[in-house]
């Protein structure tokens, strides 16, 4: 039984390897932010040119407009992660982007060690170069989730039609229910109102300094920026401490800083992520001002 199982598994792998390029992508879905993060990291490691311009950051910078950035910047931004993951991937693959934007908001979030192990492991990289079935985009479940996404959607819409369920109001920029928004803001306030320890801040800011200096020596133009958040949150203990530590370690006379209008009342979906109209505005401004840094 053991031998038969192993041989059959090998045959299945081979069949999938040859079939994958021919399977239709009509029903295809990368499910969840963690999967999307791995996909982004693997695409960067395997498919992105070594000197491409890059933006590293968290979910905040991840909202920057893909449409406007297309062809000009690669986003190595990870929801639930931070800039360190992107920076460590760049350093681990010995890349030297021409321009590198670094989001400073999530300075306190360490790099995702599991992801780094996964995307930087030499044998995994070799395996992925050999066959796409070992890449995130080649997962069999992507097709299954895509198919089910379509099917569940159809069933739910059909059911709503039969039962005459009232149509949901059309989503606006502020898609979250006001009560939910208030709860999320409360949680954000609680989370951001805790001052980090001096030792933690120093360790993080020093590591960031090492990475920035190393990349700068390699010819990369590093531009630091802080994504705008709701004005009631930006003066809480954590953002203030991070801002101070960043300004101290990276003085604007020595490092490139890109700043947004602080007096503007930024519109967000949940306190920390900007609405689309704001995103389009700031992405445009970043692209315009990037030239000024050159």
């Amino acid at each position: 039984m053991i031998k038969k199982s192993l041989i059959t598994a090998l045959v299945l792998l081979l069949v999938y390897h040859f079939a994958l390029p021919h399977i239709s992508r009509d029903y295809y879905w990368i499910a969840g932010q963690q999967r999307a993060n791995y996909l982004r990291a693997q695409k960067f490691v395997h498919d992105t040119p070594a000197d491409a311009n890059v933006i590293v950051g968290s979910s905040m910078a991840n909202t920057l407009s893909d449409e406007l950035l297309a062809g000009k910047y690669e986003k190595l931004t990870f929801p639930a992660g931070g800039s360190f993951t992107g920076l460590e991937i760049i350093a681990g693959t010995d890349r030297h982007p021409k321009v590198l934007w670094i989001e400073s908001n999530t300075l306190l979030r360490d790099a995702d060690k599991s992801m780094l192990d996964d995307v930087l492991s030499p044998w995994r990289r070799k395996l992925r170069d050999t066959s796409p079935v070992f890449k995130e985009e080649g997962r069999p479940s992507n097709f299954q989730v895509g198919l089910l996404n379509d099917l569940v959607g159809k069933v739910c819409r059909g059911f709503a039609k039969i039962t005459g369920a009232p149509k949901k109001p059309k989503a606006t920029e502020h898609a979250i229910d006001p009560d939910v928004f208030a709860n999320i803001m409360k949680a954000n306030r609680e989370h951001l109102d805790r001052a980090p320890s001096e030792a933690e801040l120093t360790a993080r800011v020093n590591r960031l300094g090492e990475l920035v200096d190393q990349l700068t020596r390699g010819g990369t133009k590093c531009i630091l920026f802080e994504m705008p958040i709701d004005s009631t949150l930006e003066l809480l203990a954590e953002p203030v401490a991070v801002r101070k530590a960043m300004e101290k370690r990276f003085p604007s006379e020595k490092y490139h800083w890109f700043t947004f209008d602080r007096d503007h009342a930024w519109q967000t979906t949940d306190g920390v992520h900007l609405v689309k109209s704001e995103i389009d505005k700031i992405t445009g401004k970043m692209l315009r001002d990037a030239d000024a840094f050159k």
Binding site: I2, A9, L12, A31, S114, R139, D177, V180, N183
Partner: protein, 470 residues
Amino acid sequence: MLFTSLPFVILVLITFVIYYLRPLRSLQVIVLTAASFLFYSWEAPLLVILLILSILINVVTSYKIATGKVSSQKFWAIMGVSLNLGLLLLFKYGPLVAKTLFGGDHGSIGHFLVTIPLPIGISFFTFQGISLVVEVFRSKQPNDPFGYPEMVPDSFVAHLKHTMLFKAFFPSLVAGPIVKAHEFYPQIVPKELSGINWQIVFRSLVVGYFLKMVIADNLKDSTFWIEYPYFLNESPLTLVSLLFGYSMQIFADFAGYSLIAIGLAAAFGYVLPQNFNYPYISRSFTEFWQRWHISLSTWLREYLYIPLGGNRKGNVRTYLNLFIVMFLGGLWHGAAWSYAVWGSFHGLALALERLGKNWIRFPKHWLVGVVQALLVFSFVTLAWLLFKLPKFEHVLAYLGAMLHSRAETKYWLIGHVITYSVPVIGYYAWYLLKQRKPGISRYEFVIFALLLTAIILDSGTTGAFIYFQF
């Protein structure tokens, strides 16, 4: 060290080779114990001190019971159990008690106790220690009704060696199954490579790793959204799906871990008890607890329920005993009141079920069985919310959102939950099918090939085992 990490695989392979080397056969116990200590100390070496302390408590007290005067046996037994419980209380419940009694201000005793980290696996190896002390004590009583085998050799050093392996045995050290002393000690004999049951090793490891790496590790990316206040932004259908997904995840995570442990132990010639027996097909709560975390429920029955009087002291006392056992069983999972509520819920369900049995007789029809199984599954699943959301008000908020949320349904999230829940349903269906048509087993190699392929192509990102925190 995680069962799914590369260092672990390397450790197992090296240990395996050394363990079965003919010239080192007499050192098998030491080799396995050394590997177990390395396994336990990998992330936090200091924790080994606690493990050693716990081992010493059990070695000394059980040896004293076995070899000391008859008049002092009870004293050493009480001492052994008390010290074991003391360690557990200090490390697991100390922070909760200290915070409640002394506050958590800097410099206070409360703050000191709150900052003590919870040693991984303490609940598991402490319960194993208690089982050793109690069983040695029981075996020394005249007319021992349990018929336990001889567990303590004359030599203290030999007993120390055996107990070190019993308590630190790496497959079951951090998350069970909880092995009872009488199940383990008779197995401590020299092992031969030819004695390995490769079928058990292969089947347990493949199914175990599939449940953990493919099912649990992928479902965690969906159930991640069961977090306050973010779940408030999901529709009722999404919330029901997520809860269903969490129920599948917790089963796959824990049953997967147990199967890996059983497979690894088998590779070293040891038999660990079955920990899960398809619990989600249970038609009653009583049956559920005979199928879920079997090693814990049998431990609670043997060392708590029976000593409390079991069902021998009348109906009311039986209901009360059931409730007490489940309440404490709930608290065993963690120092939070939500675990106590979870345990009480199950205790109440068991007591009510027993009460209802006296009056209600269900017809023996398969459809009735299906409805019963669905009901038990639904209640059990609902109660898992207390595991996922330790704050009671968040549990209520989740239930409220399940009824009233007006958010849009995320179809892909439901698709994701279905994708990784269907194999679990298939796992149960295959078991039921095999019972009806045993001949179908000859095609099992196809299933195992599919599981192996899925492990290679579709494993999720590594996540710690849920039961590590207990």
